[in-house]
């Protein structure tokens, strides 16, 4: 197995692993946020508008963590500086 194909296999494996692990935390966080929001909604249905607004903002904040992982994985997979080096050396 030459250097390039070894590198590609390694990168693909770790990209998949990173995506899976990186989504784990935000997933738990978003679940907790939604659960609390539903509790608040059940207790105070009249506050639905502002609860929904802050829930969406909070979810966007948490979601951006998972998006960071996605962006990093996309960079590693398609625009990797290391891969450029291996190809053009």
């Amino acid at each position: 197995m030459n250097e390039l194909s070894f590198f590609t296999t390694l990168v693909t494996a770790f990209a998949v692993l990173a995506m899976g692990l990186g989504v784990l935390g935000p997933g738990i966080g978003m679940g907790m946020a939604v659960a609390k929001a539903l509790e608040a909604l059940a207790r105070q249905p009249e506050a639905e508008k502002s609860i929904m607004r802050w829930l969406l903002i909070g979810l966007a904040m948490i979601e951006s963590l998972a998006i960071y992982v996605l962006v990093i994985v996309l960079i590693v997979l398609f625009r990797s500086p290391m891969l450029d080096y291996l190809l053009h050396k």
């Binding site: 607004r53 969406l56 966007a60 979601e63 998006i67 960071y68 996605l70 996309l74 625009r79």
Partner: protein, 240 residues
């Protein structure tokens, strides 16, 4: 063209096709974004010249509903001087929503799937925060906020402004690009017409991301105007 190239090309990750004017390269997202801006501006001008007070046309009622929804959302979220911020946030909402939806037209990509475009939008918000903050409070009060509650908090305030600008840009970019890649991969795996359900998801995503971008801009700007709200509140308490 291989399958992988097809997916990546569809998502605009291979470097978007460029238009060359002499030695000057113009990316596709710049063309779509500019076209959208021109279309929106001319639509606004056209609409404005045809507004009627008495028996309004159907489209005018629909537009008024949309404007009213934007107006009431901004008024609910900002304690003071909502009419100053309304134009910026309303424009962000309408522009980003339409820019996201352009991706649904076959052959076109969302300009918001390009990090340069989302970066530009986030930069606007970055500069809008001190602009509205200084407008509302004056230089001294705004700068003092950076040193509150302790003077050594200054680097943390600056850091938080920079990172949230980055987050704003990357969130919109990542969501739109991720959706396009997912639909492209699904098209490869499952075939024709299967991704239609995902296109519906794309539609919801476009709405949600536009709402969130504008809402976060609103929250950040409101944070920059915080001292004004506090002062108004104190004034209200003393006069009461």
């Amino acid at each position: 063209m291989s399958a992988a190239e097809f997916v990546l090309g569809a998502a605009g990750l291979l470097g978007q096709p460029t238009l060359r004017i002499g030695s000057f390269a113009v990316s596709e997202s710049a063309v779509t974004a500019t076209a959208l801006t021109v279309a929106l501006a001319s639509a606004a001008a056209w609409t404005r010249s045809r507004l009627r007070m008495r028996n309004p046309a159907g489209w005018q009622v629909v537009l008024e509903l949309a404007v009213q929804a934007i107006d009431s959302t901004v008024r609910d979220s900002i304690p003071k001087a909502p009419e100053r911020i309304l134009p910026l946030v309303g424009t962000l909402w309408i522009y980003i929503l339409l820019a996201n939806l352009i991706g649904l037209i076959p052959g076109l990509h969302s300009p918001t799937g390009d990090l340069s475009v989302t970066g530009a939008l986030a930069t606007i918000v970055f500069f809008a925060v001190p602009f509205y903050g200084i407008w509302a409070e004056g230089w001294a009060a705004y700068v003092r906020e950076y040193f509150a509650p302790m003077f050594w908090m200054f680097p943390f305030h600056v850091m938080s402004e920079l990172t949230r600008t980055l987050t704003l840009a990357v969130r919109l970019f990542g969501n739109m690009t991720g959706m396009e890649v997912a639909i492209g991969i699904l098209l490869l795996l499952a075939g024709f017409l299967v991704p239609v359900a995902f296109l519906f998801l794309h539609f919801i995503e476009a709405l949600l991301q536009a709402y969130i971008f504008g809402m976060l801009a609103l929250v950040y700007i409101a944070g920059g105007m915080q001292a004004l709200a506090d002062r108004e509140q104190r004034k209200g308490e003393t006069t009461r």
